[in-house]
């Protein structure tokens, strides 16, 4: 119980911060409602998948700079394949794009393992390659998306037996996010592979000596990052209806949320829940600052300051609880 609390303490703190922010938002903008929540989640969606991708890799002791570029490539691939195609065709496009993300991620991992070039260099290189590839697929924003895909992120889910006033607060996009993350993360976390990912991030030497196949585990960690990145790319196409070849601001945002979410950049520590809450916190802060009509440039400064302050505060609390 004691251990459980210590490990979840950070996440609980973040969640409290998120709730406080929602209350603050309601205070700033008294008519902040269910619709606003829906658009917040829609805006968060690509960020959340980018963060999930980054989290897996960082826990394994690496870093993936190609996340945003991979999202751009998968997004334009999906959009150009679905442009003018039938609704049913999209049923093939989705698994294809997901598989593509998985494979591209695996390529990242294989390059790192085989070439022994540091991960930061390899993924920086693939960032440029994937960016170029995205521009080859679509020179300018365009393409299309199947209607059923687009409708997946719009509106709410009517639950039988629950009044509309309640279901209005459950946007489809949130359900989609939670379901997709759980489908991948929970089995992964329970499996030996998940354990191995934590192990190589914590201490590669000790993991190797414990008989963990370090190379294979690392490749799979990057592959899962690719899978999450592909989900992010799809979510971009879903919410905009097109594909844009220029990567969005997802890379640095993903690293920021990973740090804020209590995942050690050195690897081995943390879970997915923290970074996902962190990404909501960061987006909501931005919303609040916009509502307060603060200069967008100042907004960025505030975001940065919050990050440093929260991480410092967290480290301070941890130190206090250790020494007592």
């Amino acid at each position: 119980m004691k251990h459980h609390f210590r490990r979840q303490g950070w996440v609980a703190g973040l969640f409290a911060l998120l709730v406080a922010l929602f209350i603050l938002t309601k205070f700033i903008q008294p008519n902040y409602g269910a619709g606003d929540l829906g658009s917040l989640v829609r805006a968060v969606l690509p960020y959340a998948f980018a963060v999930a991708a980054q989290t897996v890799v960082v826990i394994a002791g690496g870093i993936d700079l190609s996340v945003a570029a991979m999202m751009a490539l998968t997004s334009v691939t999906a959009a150009s394949m679905m442009a003018g195609a039938s609704e049913e065709y999209a049923l093939l496009v989705v698994p294809f794009v997901l598989a593509m993300g998985f494979a591209l991620g695996a390529v990242n991992g294989i390059l790192i393992v085989v070439s022994r070039v540091p991960d930061i260099v390899v993924t920086l290189a693939t960032l440029f390659m994937l960016q170029g590839a995205a521009l080859l697929v679509l020179g300018a924003p365009g393409g299309g998306a199947a209607e059923w895909l687009k409708s997946l992120v719009v509106g709410t889910i009517p639950l039988p037996g629950l009044p509309d006033s309640v279901t209005a607060w459950i946007p489809k996009s949130l359900v989609l996010l939670v379901v997709l993350l759980c489908i991948v993360w929970i089995p992964l976390n329970r499996s030996k592979l998940g354990l191995s990912i934590y192990a190589i991030g914590s201490s590669e030497l000790a993991a190797f000596r414990s008989g963990v196949p370090v190379a294979r585990t690392k490749i799979l960690a990057y592959a899962f990052a690719g899978l999450f990145a592909a989900m992010g790319g799809l979510s971009l196409t879903m919410s905009t209806g097109i594909g844009a070849p220029i990567p969005g601001p997802y890379l640095l945002a993903s690293v920021a949320a990973v740090v804020l979410g209590g995942v050690a950049l050195g690897g081995g520590k943390g879970s997915l829940l923290g970074p996902i809450i962190a990404v909501f916190v960061l987006r909501l802060v931005r919303t609040d600052l916009t509502l307060l009509a603060i200069d967008p440039n100042v907004t960025a400064i505030v975001e940065g300051s919050i990050m440093v302050a929260v991480v410092m505060f967290g480290a301070f609390i941890t130190m206090r609880s250790r020494s007592s």
Partner: protein, 512 residues
Amino acid sequence: MTTSPLLDATGVAKRYGAVAALKNASLSLLPGEVHALMGANGAGKSTLVKILTGAISANVGRILVRGQERDIRSPAKARKAGLVPVYQEPSLIPDLDVLSNLRLTNTPVEPFRNWVRELGVPDLDLRELARDVPLAIQRVLDLARALAVEPDVLLLDEMTAALPANLAERVLEVVKGQSRTGRSVIFISHRFVEIAALCDRATVLRDGETVGVVDIVPGVEERIVELMLGAKVEKRRVTQQRAEDAASPAGGSTRIAVRNLSVGTKLQDVSFDLKDGEVAGVVALEGQGQDELFAALAGSIRPAGGTIEVDGRQVRFSHPADAVQAGIAYVPGDRTEALAMQQSVRENIALPFSAAFRNWGPIRMGKEGATVQGAIERLQIDTRAQREVQRLSGGNQQKVTIARWIAADARTLLCFDPTRGIDVGTKQEIYKLLRQLAAQGKSVLFYTSELEEVQLVCDRAIVIFGGRVVDILPVEIADEAALTRAAYGLPRDAKADVGILADVHSDPVTRP
């Protein structure tokens, strides 16, 4: 030799670039035998163990397990072939709890629990993060984890080096029990006592080659040391030699005076003096506050109370640089704490004095080179692999950590178990060096976990128990029995004031 060997390795060699770590090693292990693997540091013991357990693979050589060639080119495969190691450093994943660590290696939990209990740790919380488990217990868990999979061959690399005496005893008993059930153990240790008590045979390595296999019988130690060093070793006691050191300034002035020092909850009210030209031994069981004492003197933690005087002036160190400035240098037992492993020998030695004086201008390479060369020659550091310190053997690494402070001309050395895991030859060199330094008027505070070293090197022994100085023994009576008694807090003879500080100044036998 009627029974066929359980493990048979012949002609094993491993090269790293131009450096041959192993040239022609062989090892034959009979069922039910405890087999010592011995050799000076750098002889290739660790390399051979790593090859046998799949951590690295050999360039050439034939390894048979139960007469069959088995693929042992990864730790997982070696494990399947029945070869399970316990390495020198803890191998648990620090950020996983103990249970997850077991799951990772497919270790059955119940046998593990039983072994942990057997090894003398009654209350273990499997949900505890490995990081939070004390180091000595981690070693025990490593061993229990290896035992739980019932390996045919257990390889123990310096298993007992970091263990307190009571745990070490249990470990030795358990190892003995293994051999009774027909399993075999390869045992690496620098402690002859353990080997004599435990092992049936010993394979001796020198410079990457197997130079002999001997049966362990009383009196075989000399022969083993001879094989290890390749020449007859001088068993001269450094203490006796000290009488010849007429240059040693008898009763030098007080260099460091510690008064009523306390650090956290670990160290309370400690007082003693360290004089110029003396080597003062510190003796304590594991975790009695000696770590905190050295850290406070080296400036890496701030004491909660009491004073430290250097050359009669009170000092307050807020950073190790302050201690270095005052001429006090810390030599940790763990080399990795002190060295920049990927840098060259030269850079490592030059680091303290090139970084001194807040001197961030250009480094005078010529002068630096000469100083470094002087230190290397003085310590006879083997510089064949000098481009990266991490490729040196443990003994040579330890020499580099001492050499840098000699090059920096530190007046006081705080040596914390500097001979841990080092071969006999290098140990002798380090003893001699410390005496030479003392003869030059430098002072050394020398913590050791090997009690016999006290009479070899020290002028007196400060014994710490439960965070307090319980006794200060003059070297003449500081034999292992007396030190052990004192270290467990037992009074010396009928001395009534145990637990109260022994005042150094009124001690008539501080120096011989």
